[in-house]
Symmetry: C2
Subunit: 169 residues, 2 copies
Amino acid sequence: MKSSPFFAIALTITGVGMAAAQVASAQPRPENASPIYGVTLPEGYRDWKFIAPAQEAPPLDELRAVLANDVAVEAYKEGVLPFPDGSVLVKLAYKRQQSTEFPPATVPGAPTTVQVMVKDSKKFPDSHGWGFGRFVNGKPVDVAQHETCLACHVGNVKDHDYVFTRYAH
Amino acid sequence: MKSSPFFAIALTITGVGMAAAQVASAQPRPENASPIYGVTLPEGYRDWKFIAPAQEAPPLDELRAVLANDVAVEAYKEGVLPFPDGSVLVKLAYKRQQSTEFPPATVPGAPTTVQVMVKDSKKFPDSHGWGFGRFVNGKPVDVAQHETCLACHVGNVKDHDYVFTRYAH
């Protein structure tokens, strides 16, 4: 059989997937847990404290907000890096929609994704202590999307413990 | 003395200011309280629960987020209108700034205003139960700016108890 670029890519992806599976192999992946990392939507996250808003340009064209649990909020406020184990960040994203009541404003339309980062240096030693989960309608998205998380965070924000969002004072 | 349009406008503004002063006359205005309404920045508001993000177009060009105290959050979740007495909403606003780490994103720059709405039907009978405060660097802005709050909320969102922001689910 002749090797092809596609085959090489497929092998690479499989390799990443297998390495990731080893990370999460200590326990079975819970229902609705993200591939690779086994991260689930944390209970009660919608009531967590607010870190910062953001806007994502088209084509996504979203309004976003990061919330965090108390461990992470404390670290943010104290300027502690790296984030301690137990820190959890959740990013809510919504389609950006023109306000019908106040023309200068755009406001949240339909929710799109919920993205989670969990710090657990024992569980995620191969991803700088972070586990990632991306969810649509409460269900994790596929392996391919989860394979993009780590490289982007490592490539852009390694000096902020791989976390993009800063606390909005 | 000949009356002028400018003079007529000045008289009207003075009249509004006087009527407003009567609303707040029951007790002396606390330090750092808003003119007209006597609303102060509520203690601990930065840790309140998150309602929704928004973006304000140029020239303000801001990212915003509304937080609320537990009374208001409960009303939002239960769909209770009008908001009960004791509800407090706080809107944080920041200059919108290009992310240097992730090109598609804009993120909070310098904070601009913090805007507060307090529901107290006894204290604010002439403004549908709401008191307003707009703060820059922790200090309330002037009377003229506070005179704009009520008319805009009445004109645009009287069917949502004079509150623009909806809960982002």
